[in-house]
Symmetry: C2
Subunit: 665 residues, 2 copies
């Protein structure tokens, strides 16, 4: 027989992921709307409360918020996410005995019954509530007195006065504050919500290799050189500068230019082949400078409002100090050789793998945790994690949990260019942002389907897609073929479809020389220094800067789940809106998907969602051209060209009427 308990059933508690296995994610400052179905046999009045508490960075006492019935046995309530960190919530419900009694009494009065027995019952309920109020200490003393008075009134016998007193809502209100919770039910396992800081949701990334920032051709750049790039990054409007690994690079099996199996003596190697006698994951490549130089770089960036994101690639060059110091952390063959990384027939001879789940796992994981904490000490809070899908999910869940418990402002971007369920599993395990397949979605139907899945589907509760038109590893066919117009339209899409986007440097210069037949850069910066002319003719710096400025000016573009697609009568034109919940910021965007031709389209405007009357006239401000127009009615026409393949309108209203005129009345 089940233990004595309440008979209330609380089910379908939302939001939750996988039965509460993982926290959902929200933005700090937001309110979490919680819903649940609450059922009990019979006709009792129920009291339902939401209990919530902050878990990290500091544990707080649980607080309660009353939930409201919303029909069909559903209840809803809210709690605020004051600040960045982890929260927990649950729902508790109990029968409200005095309210139930009062409810029934009022219906019995209509039926003109003798109610003396009922009044005794009500008095008994009030006496019990008074006792609980008195037990609540000084705070309850006043209420206890009122409840005792109520009890006495009910014992005075059936009369109009008695019944009025019995049904006084203030009396029920007071009694409800001291409930009998012996039949209360809780929803069970607490559910969790992680409140992200703003930049985890709204971020604009610029990836650069510090070693390529020297002014003089052929010289290895330093952090000091890279510092001089920061105003350039700022001018482009980015607020995160992301650096590939900055650690010493191994010499054993170092790769040459264009991933050649053997390196020339002056080849710089791949920064992802981490570790040399000069140090490992906590060290700085001597040619870049010192740890102090790096800290100065971080500080200079901060002064410009830019955060530094570091690449974390948990793999080692054969020359990494770990290999000698902790041979037990690596996978070995029976002949004693360390296994190099491979995905046959591909082989990464310059990289060896950790034995993630091996016998020395505890010390290994602890050491890797210390890598994050080390860089946090240097002022870094954003980590772009390399190939997380080749490392165990339990490791990520553990290490991100450990770091965030101390530093909830740490942000983890998963380079999860992998199978869809693994991409989502990594997000559930704790990554704040994820790379996506946006990079390969070029046509209208596939783009709409995919972005709907990302922003409206179940995964939107825990995964935020950071959209990248290119990376050092990926030069998509679209950019290779489409040239400058493709760079314009792909950046317009990335910058507006998601609040987080990024480019790898050179994108703004429309660099698109590829290895033949591949989606990889020719003369890739992964293996050599690259010299760039940032004033190269045809560059799209102004366009990128405009996109980032528009994003900064319009809160609607700083949210993720508010993306809605609308109809455009041309399959080469995609049309969508983003609005804040209060509609104070409304953006419409039309982007051509065709880099090879100009296109026109009739757009079907979401007037209802915009809160506009069918015949209302409103103003639109096209932000890329700074042109204004008055629109009316359910459609608008747009022409997009190869030079300007996107239109981004801010919608403004005429809210004033003659009645607002000072002298009207």
């Amino acid at each position: 027989m089940p233990a004595r308990q309440g008979s209330i059933l609380i089910e379908n508690l939302q939001p939750q992921i996988d039965c509460g296995r993982y926290p959902v994610k929200r933005a700090a400052g937001e309110t979490v709307r919680v819903t649940a179905d609450v059922l009990k046999e019979g006709h009792d009045e129920l009291a339902v409360v939401l209990r919530w508490r902050q878990l990290t960075p500091k544990a707080a006492e649980a607080r309660e918020a009353t939930m409201r019935p919303s029909g069909n046995d559903a209840w809803e309530g809210e709690f605020p996410l004051f600040e960045n960190g982890l929260y927990a919530f649950e729902v508790e419900a109990w029968p409200d005995a005095f309210r139930t009694w009062a409810q029934e009494l009022s219906r019995k009065i209509e039926a003109r019954r003798d109610l003396s027995s009922e009044l005794l019952e009500g008095a008994q309920l009030l006496r019990a509530a008074a006792e609980r109020a008195a037990a609540a200490g000084p705070a309850g003393a006043f209420d206890a007195e009122r409840l005792r008075e109520g009890e006495k009134a009910l014992l005075a016998g059936q009369s109009q006065a008695t019944l009025s007193r019995a049904l006084d809502p203030r009396l029920a209100e007071t009694a409800s504050r001291y409930p009998d919770k012996s039949l209360a039910t809780r929803s069970g396992r607490e559910l969790r919500v992680f409140a992200e800081r703003k930049r985890a949701i709204f971020s604009s990334w610029y990836e650069l290799f510090p070693r390529s920032t020297a002014r003089e051709p052929g010289r290895h750049g330093t952090f000091s050189d890279a510092e001089r790039m920061l105003p350039y990054v700022r001018e482009l409007g980015f607020d995160v500068v992301y650096l590939p690994p900055i650690h010493p690079i191994g010499k054993t099996a170092r790769k040459g230019k264009n991933n050649a199996l053997t390196a020339a003596p002056d080849d710089v190697g791949s920064p992802w082949a981490i570790g040399s006698p000069e140090g490992g994951h906590k060290a700085v490549h001597p040619q870049l400078g010192t740890l102090a130089d790096f800290r100065r770089f971080v500080k200079s960036a901060a002064e410009l409002g830019i955060e530094v994101a570091l690449d974390v690639a948990f793999q080692c060059s054969p020359d990494h100090p770990y290999v000698k110091e902790r041979p037990d952390w690596f996978q070995r063959r029976p002949d004693g050789t360390i296994k190099t990384a491979e995905n046959p027939p591909k082989r990464y001879e310059d990289i060896v793998n950790f034995d993630w789940m091996g016998p020395e796992r505890e010390s290994l994981w602890a050491e890797l945790r210390s890598v994050f904490l080390h860089w946090i000490e240097q002022g870094v809070r954003i980590f772009r994690v390399d190939n997380p899908h080749t490392k165990p999910l339990p490791f990520w869940e553990w290490v991100i949990g450990e770091v965030k418990a101390r530093h909830p402002d740490a942000i983890f971007l998963a380079e999860a260019f992998t199978r869809p369920k693994m991409m989502k599993a990594l997000a559930k395990a704790g990554f704040d942002q994820s790379y996506t397949y946006f990079t390969w979605r070029n046509f209208k139907h596939e783009m709409e389907d995919y972005l709907k899945e990302l922003t409206q589907g179940p995964a939107a509760e825990f995964m935020l897609g950071n959209l990248w038109p290119n990376t050092p590893d990926i030069l998509p066919e679209h950019l290779q073929q489409g040239g400058r117009p493709a760079f314009l339209l792909r950046s317009a899409l990335a910058a507006t479809l998601s609040p987080s986007w990024g480019i790898y440097s050179g994108f703004e210069l429309c660099e698109n020389r590829a290895l033949p037949g591949k989606e990889e850069y020719l003369d890739s910066e992964k293996y050599q220094l690259v010299q760039r002319d940032s004033d190269k003719p045809g560059n799209i710096r102004a366009w990128i800067a405009a996109l980032n400025r528009i994003r900064n000016d319009h809160p609607a573009l700083q949210q993720y789940r508010n993306l809605r697609f609308h109809k455009a009568d041309n399959d080469r034109v995609i049309f969508f809106s983003k609005m804040t919940e209060d509609r104070s910021s409304q953006i419409l965007a039309a982007v051509s998907l065709d880099p090879f031709a100009a296109h026109e389209a009739i757009l079907e405007l979401p007037l209802f969602e915009m809160g506009l009357q069918p015949d209302e006239t409103y103003q639109v401000h096209e932000l890329l051209s700074d042109e204004r127009a008055l629109w009316q009615g359910p459609t608008a026409q747009v022409r997009l060209t190869q030079e300007k393949p996107a239109a981004i309108w801010s919608v403004l209203r005429f809210r004033r009427t003659e009645q607002g005129f000072d002298y009207y009345f």
Copy 2:
């Protein structure tokens, strides 16, 4: 740090309800298809197994079935439900080290590498597998030998012969049988499936009051009289005869005819006012006969293939022996009076309520369990439970679990005419069948929506709707207004839309005299004896019998979740199909929803689902008229009249061609 474990993630395990809180329901004899997403970092070959075991009526050892990958990290497998009872299942997965090795080896061979180190590794894996095989006792000895031979072969050095041996699938197969499970992951909490016996899904109910079965007007019927009704029930084609409560009826506050507050001396009272000095829930009303008479009734029914369903109404007349013997089982007011049942302003003065969650709850619940067990001893296995939504859900979950652990063949029908979520919660708590809102769904759109929700929605995993056009409590407006054609069409709908349906006696005689302005019977049998002329002109006995015969002949009508609606171009005509999975039984049905006029409609046939080519000719057999026709193409026309408002076609095929002719070849 999490305990050492495998890094495989098993998620989205299906079927499950509410995170495994409740068992899903299936039919005994069926196969359960289980799916799960199984993810691991990297590129390992995985072994995934479904582990399942029977829990009741007898606990059995767990068995394993291999699961197959079905793409996108999803896996699927099956297990059989041999017999009626409760089963549990879980999924276990581990990396298959030797297969992974062999997979990589084959790709490395293509890349023409030196593989000596790899071969040592493979040999080591085989040695470990051989040790596990040897440890498995005599059964593994032969395999151990083969694995050791494999090991030796691999140690012979790189050669074509060695590599062929290494990649021999039989070697991998043998090694896989002795896996290293140290990195295995289980899905966690076992999920449960309850296998229903066939009648819990496919049942045709006839409700009759035994006291109304006397031949002589005015005499109180007995079980012997009721026995004479059984051939009539059989002739109508029903296989469950359901009796309202058969217990002694209280005299205190007994209701008179038409629910009058005071009864005349010869009024028989409501059978739901259970209990008198002559006994309570385990006793038989003396005017109906003895317990032995009841047992004979059950036996006579069984001889005709009919099961007896008893009404279980857990409430007491004030005269019930429990009230004196166990006053602590009842809710009392402070003045000592027992609370009568009420839903103000309605009051059921002839009924008192148990104190379900009170201090004496354990003894009360145990006693009520013994009521079920008592009637099971008398040969009853089907219980129709009165107003279950006014009793606690935890009670139902407990008592049904207790009864079914001993008697999985017990069937519980919930008279859950209540809010939708409570109806579903009762089904989750263990009720096999539920009354539904079918009784109030009369028009095409609402009928399609509701039946789709019932048979295709999430609730179909645990709730089976038993469709009743009428009950002693409910004479729907549709039947009152629509007369005989309404009775014809409502029974055709109920009998075909669900494998379980029922009528309350008098339906086949088209009885429809109502209390003015209400959906209740005038001179309701709940409060008085009723005399019927089963040969009443206009009766629809032949129609009902035909419906039940058709149901018995066609397995497609004996399943629940196979209902599919199709287009008919007339809003008064509903058109649907039911098929068995192997398509050996295919039913199409068109039913008029209008009792007032004849209707024609063009039906859009689901040729693809029926497995028919667009140009194929096939035979349909209209089962109510026994007429046959040849159809071809995607549409057919039907005419439905007030006399015959339904058409039910069995679809037959011409499968023979000239090539089947004996001498063709």
